[in-house]
Amino acid sequence: MARFSTSQTAAAVPLNGRIKKRRTKSIPLIQQVAGADRFWVMLFLLPFIILYTSFTLWPLLATIIYSFFDWDGNGPLELFIRLENYITIARDPLFWLSFRNTLVFALINTAIKLPLSLMAAILLTRKWLWGQRLFRTVYFAPLVIPVAMAGLIFQLLLHPANGAINDLLTSTGLVQRPIDFLGNERLALLSLVIVSVWQIFGQYMIYWMAALQNVPEALYEAAELDGAGEWKKLVHITLPIIRPVAIIILFLAFVNALKVFGLVVTMTGGGPGFQTYVVPYFIYTQALVDFPFRYGYASAAAVLFGVTILLAVTVQGYFVRRAEADRKDYGV
């Protein structure tokens, strides 16, 4: 027999026409469990705690520690240099160029992939559409190709001398001279964005489809009775109801895009020049490519970048809470 103690729950009490939420003191789970149950709870939590500590907490802590040392990644940590790595990074134009490129990449990537994948999801959830499974598979297929392989394939496809895409463009007369998609400083980052969208598109389509399934069918039926068309149903029912999930998807998409790395390595190597340097690639080159290695410096860059992501996640939390409150107005 489980011997769970009763816990206090939040209650909504009408007061002078307003809803006031009474804050209750939450009791930690472990205190809600007594005796042998407490042992089992701990036992089942143990694998997660070990894995989380080993592969998340410790690397995070180690990165912060390394960032205060002049360390090449080999041998003991000896040269404590306080904030020198951070001061150097603050003055490193390549880091800030990488930072800017990362943000630009993430913003454009998110701005393209989310509306596209939402449209595809809406289409693929229409009952009248023939071949839904086929389309889902086609859209999802690029996701199973490893990033490195996708990068190499597109490097070949986009090549100005031998690439199939340039062959197509020149043979159809759309362009006179081949376009150097990955060598042109204005096109290189955009090319990375498009390849990235192509690859990840299916994943977000699935997210949107899951969100759309939460919209009660009764609302659509009621709207139809009132004479609403597809557009009005989308704007006044679908989008408001999926808004909390949409915000989560939006920030998830943005944060994931900030971590772009594999495509840069395989398609451009940060080039032309430094035009497609992104922060993860910057960290990688400092720590593991350019000899002698600067592990401490790379760690400081990683910490700064991590703080940026943390800020994005914090903002996400705020908007999700707001959207959830708004959704309650719809009674769902």
Binding site: H159, A161, G183, G271, P272, T285, L288, R294
Partner: protein, 532 residues
């Protein structure tokens, strides 16, 4: 207390019983036979070590074990010459014939992959026993590796007395491949033929363009005219130029004949990408890009080489190793031409740097088989041994510890040697560490280069691809690097190092096409010490 006499009695009884027990007597028949065999059980080793600045000769006796006494050992060797992988398997087998207790596992990776993998192996404590490495500054590579705690010295006790005689005199220098009289590495390739700076042509493309493939362009203008002819008469591009850090393969021969293949000016002691001669070379190269004479794209060296080998381009500038690389591409019909690089129209005004150090193989500080690793390196560098003779015969490169004239038979490598000998492309540059020993401890150059790695090549690549003016970026790079260089020098001098910009500036070296020899070192002005 009464038990004590009883115990004594029992003990005496047991002792008496044991004494009366029947005994087995072993009878040994001795057969006398005289066997004369000289077995080296000890060896006297004399070495010189430095104690508090003074050289002291130390003699010690080391025990020599027989083959049977030795534990089986597996040596891991790694380098980045993938096209030579089959040869290394043969090397491992041959070595084991002589040293049955040592198994050699030789792994080769692609160069870029190798440079990324090896550091990770060191970080995880899983480095190979012997590794191949070239630092940014070859002369300071050993100092860098020592600083990283990657290298251990060779085991002097197993080296034969004539080991050092295999190389030309002056090949082993304190601070470059020797520390406290202990060798850490050895010149692997020669420093006259080996290196960048050759012009490779696909003769079929020349023929298709109506050009004589045996009469290559020799000047900047001739190369330009040749390229225009190829563009007019064929579908091929003229030049295959790799970009990013790989741009060095094209840059070195062009800039080396106009000024220097280094981004450091050893006459003035400053970073020189903003020098008008460097900009002149850049503008010359950019003209080929702007006029569509170069294989388009942000290509790496492998793509550029393949382009030349398969006839998509006519010319590729590369190092002495290219004949063996092209052989690995399995393009049997490739009719390869090897020529010297083109000179500026008004004559040669510079030279390629004759590297002071071709030290490439090192023993890992993490290795627990330092003696066996030394045995292998000793075996590998025998002048008439399997490694040297086969390495040269298969045209993989040049070796300073063997007779190249006797063993090189590869047509491509023979052409490379001829070009080097006839054109004297490389001369000895002044070496700061020879002028000032404390340069080995200085971070001035490496700090400047660390501002942004391969900055010059990457920035030039961007400007080449996008047709941009490079002079502003060049000035920015030079200013940043020289600023960091001078600041670090000042800090190091203040910290007590005997160092200054004089260690890096050799104004007495007036003609860059001539070697900076020992006589010039004697005239070199050293930095003033605080005591003077």
């Amino acid at each position: 207390m009464k038990r004590k006499p009883l115990l004594i009695v029992i003990f005496l009884l047991i002792a008496a019983a044991a004494a009366c027990a029947p005994q087995t007597v072993e009878v040994t028949r001795v057969v006398t036979e005289t066997v004369t065999e000289e077995i080296e059980v000890t060896r006297v080793v004399t070495e010189t070590i430095e104690v508090e600045g003074e050289e002291v000769e130390v003699t010690r006796v080391v025990e020599v074990m027989t083959e049977e006494e030795m534990e089986p050992v597996t040596l891991r060797v790694m380098n980045w010459s993938q096209e030579q992988a089959d040869f290394y398997e043969q090397v491992a087998a041959e070595f084991q014939n002589e040293y049955p207790h040592i198994t050699v596992e030789w792994d080769t990776l692609e160069q870029g992959q190798y440079r990324e993998t090896l550091p990770l192996m060191f970080q995880s404590g899983d480095s190979p026993d012997i590794f191949f490495w070239l630092g940014g500054d070859r002369v300071l590579t050993m100092a860098e590796l020592l600083d990283q705690n990657w290298v251990a010295p060779m085991d002097n006790t197993v080296l034969p007395d004539d080991f050092y005689d295999r190389w030309p005199e002056g090949s082993f220098l304190e601070g470059i491949n020797v520390v406290n009289s202990l060798p850490y590495s050895f010149p692997f390739n020669d420093n006259f033929v080996w290196g960048p700076g050759y012009m490779y042509t696909n003769k079929d493309v020349f023929r298709a363009a109506g050009l004589d493939p045996d009469v290559p362009p020799t000047t900047w203008s001739e190369l330009r005219t040749t390229c225009e002819t190829i563009a007019e008469n064929t579908d091929a591009f003229c030049l295959a130029v790799p970009l990013g850090n790989d741009l060095q393969r094209t840059w070195y021969p062009l800039s080396g004949m106009n000024f220097t293949d280094s981004f450091f000016d050893y006459q003035q002691g400053r970073f020189n990408i903003d020098d008008e001669r460097q900009l002149e070379t850049f503008n010359y190269l950019q003209g080929f890009f702007n006029d569509g004479l170069v294989v388009p794209g942000n290509n790496d060296k492998d793509f550029a080489r393949q382009s030349m080998a398969n006839g998509q381009a006519a010319i590729y500038f590369g190092g002495a190793w290219m004949p063996s690389v092209f052989a690995g591409y399995e393009v049997p019909d490739l009719d390869l031409g090897v020529f010297p690089p083109v000179m500026p129209d008004d004559g040669r005004a510079g030279s390629l740097r004759q590297s002071f150090s071709e030290n490439k193989f090192y023993i890992s500080a993490q290795s627990t088989h330092r003696t066996e690793a030394t045995l292998f390196l000793e075996w590998m560098t025998r002048p008439d041994g399997f490694f040297a003779t086969e390495y040269l015969a298969q045209g993989f490169g040049t070796l300073p510890f063997s007779d190249m004239g006797q063993y090189v038979t590869d047509e491509g490598l023979l052409q490379v040697i001829d070009v080097a000998n006839e054109n004297n492309l490389r001369v000895a540059y002044p070496e700061p560490v020879v002028a000032c020993a404390d340069v080995a401890q200085s971070k001035a150059v490496s700090n400047a280069n660390s501002l942004t790695r391969n900055w010059e090549f990457i920035a030039m690549s961007e400007a080449l691809l996008n047709g941009e003016d490079f002079s502003g970026t060049a000035a920015e790079i030079a200013e940043a690097k020289n600023g960091e260089f001078l600041t670090t020098l000042e800090e190091e001098a203040a910290a007590g190092l005997m160092i200054g910009v004089e260690c890096f500036a050799f104004p007495e070296w007036e003609d860059i096409t001539q070697a900076y020899d020992s006589a010039l070192y004697e005239t070199h002005q050293m930095p003033a010490s605080d005591d003077s």
